[in-house]
């Protein structure tokens, strides 16, 4: 557990921030009726940054992700998207796949003819990613027949195939073993280095996060209590 004595000043929450901000949160708070889900969060996310949000269940990770991605309006404070045209993709905890569709059809939901020259280009990229995650021969499987790990990989690939500027992942590897989780991270890391993809990854699994590289913020009871580098957890 984090030692409360190590709780840092919120102003230091941008520790390790790369140059160029893409998102800023200014004293953001979220209340659900009488429940205070987030309190006075102040943070920044840099363009091309890998950020991990950790915390126990109910700490406010999902709420923070929803606020960051614009899915949820904060009750107080201000969220500023500094690149208004930035495309943000979410990998939801409940994955939000269409059960009756095949894996491939679910991935096709990300096909946008305004960002791909043609369908072939999309399919090429889809196959390339599927190869990396070793799921190419399972693309014809219907989601309802797929196991949890495959579903998670499909949900992540669908988000990546939309060629986002920022990707938010909510417990994306909860059904995956360490090896597969690492593969996911390597793919994200590759896209981060090659294309400047900003990654915001929420997870309660600190052991897993420790093996990755990136900035980390830790939430407890809706409060940001720690910011630092993942490897220093």
């Amino acid at each position: 557990m984090f030692d409360q004595s190590k709780t840092i000043n919120q102003k230091n929450a941008h520790y390790g921030l790369k140059s160029g901000k893409i998102l800023t949160l200014d004293n953001v708070g979220v209340n659900f009726k009488n429940f205070n889900a987030l309190s006075t969060i102040q943070m920044e996310i840099g363009q091309g940054e890998i950020l991990f949000i950790t915390g126990a269940s109910g700490a406010g990770k999902t709420t923070l992700l929803r606020v960051l991605s614009g899915q949820l309006q904060p009750t107080k404070g201000r969220v500023q998207l500094l690149r208004p045209n930035a495309h943000m993709a979410l990998v939801f905890q409940d994955l939000r796949l269409i059960e009756n569709y095949s894996c491939e059809m679910n991935l096709m939901m990300a096909y946008d003819n305004s960002i791909y020259k043609n369908k072939n280009e999309f399919v090429y990229e889809m196959v390339e990613f599927a190869n990396i995650l070793k799921i190419r021969n399972r693309l014809n499987l219907k989601i309802k027949d797929a196991n949890g790990g495959l579903k998670q990989k499909i949900a992540i690939l669908r988000a990546l195939l939309s060629r986002p500027d920022v990707i938010f992942l909510d417990e994306p590897t909860s059904s995956l073993d360490q090896e597969n989780a690492l593969k996911i991270f390597e793919l994200l890391n590759f896209l981060n280095v090659k294309k400047g993809l900003t990654v915001v990854w929420a997870s309660h699994d600190r052991d897993l996060i420790r093996s990755f590289s990136g900035r980390i913020i830790h939430l407890d009871g809706g409060r940001l209590i720690h910011a630092g580098h993942a490897c220093f957890i």
């Binding site: 899915q71 495309h87 993709a89 009756n100 939901m109 990300a110 946008d112 305004s114 195939l161």
Partner: protein
């Protein structure tokens, strides 16, 4: 289109129901006219039967009778009905006939009077038939006034017939609503994902607007060709479609 391809049964059923919905809306007058004419034929119009030898020029007789204002309709009877009526008429007349008479080659008609034809006029029509056909080749039944003969059960049916169309309409609308809500949920889910993973906005709204637009255009085209339509039906249906299209946007989302 993708939703229909992926759910062919649901999609095609929905398209079929849309067509049925429009047909039922259009068919109100047809259904009501059909029911009323059926019941009216049975219960409201006076009539009498005519049997004549096939040696008579019965086609000419029918043509002349059809020209009369007092005659609404002439139905040709089949052989079984003729035999039944002959027996009935003869028994009513208390006439003892030998079987060869029954085997005569008759043609039979049911002469139905127009509504509000006076008894005197009805009698005159009957006498007119007697003048057109040789009396020995002709058997006429009594004039039946069904208004007075109408049975209570037929009265009941007549009253109930007014509920037949609303019942059909309600059934079709209910089925359509069930399928529409189901299709809309699927559409809403897909639209939500398209918005999330493609650079598009208000996908569901646009899809539904195109849907509503297509419906309206189709309605206008179809109804412009049909002069006798119930405009209240159309306004009601258009409102229903609009409310169902627009209502429950939030509820259908994954976010709910």
């Amino acid at each position: 289109m993708r939703a229909i391809r992926e759910h062919p049964l649901k999609g095609l059923s929905f398209i079929f129901l849309c067509g049925l919905f429009i047909l039922v809306l259009l068919a109100q007058n047809i259904v009501n006219d059909f029911l009323q004419s059926k019941i009216a034929n049975k219960n409201q119009y006076s009539y009498f039967y005519v049997l004549m030898s096939s040696n008579e020029n019965h086609e000419d007789v029918v043509r002349k009778l059809r020209d009369l204002e007092e005659v609404k309709q002439i139905e040709t009877l089949n052989q079984e009905v003729i035999a039944k009526e002959v027996k009935k008429i003869l028994s009513e007349l208390d006439v003892n006939v030998l079987s060869p008479v029954l085997d005569m080659d008759y043609v039979g008609f049911k002469i139905i009077f127009a509504l509000k034809t006076s008894i005197r006029s009805q009698q005159l029509v009957r006498e007119y038939v007697e003048r057109l056909v040789d009396k020995k080749n002709l058997i006429l039944g009594d004039i039946k006034d069904n208004i007075s003969d109408r049975k209570a059960s037929e009265d009941f049916l007549f009253r109930k017939s007014h509920f037949v169309y609303p019942f059909i309409l309600l059934s079709v609308i209910s089925l359509w609503l069930i399928f529409f809500i189901s299709v809309k949920r699927t559409l809403a889910k897909i639209a939500y994902l398209v918005e999330q993973y493609q650079r598009r906005r208000q996908v569901l709204l646009k899809t539904l607007l195109i849907g509503v637009g297509s419906w309206l255009v189709f309605f206008i085209i179809v109804f412009s060709f049909i002069p006798q339509v119930n405009h209240l039906n159309i306004i009601g249906a258009a409102l229903l479609v609009l409310i169902t299209f627009i209502g429950g946007f939030k509820k259908d989302m994954w976010e709910s």
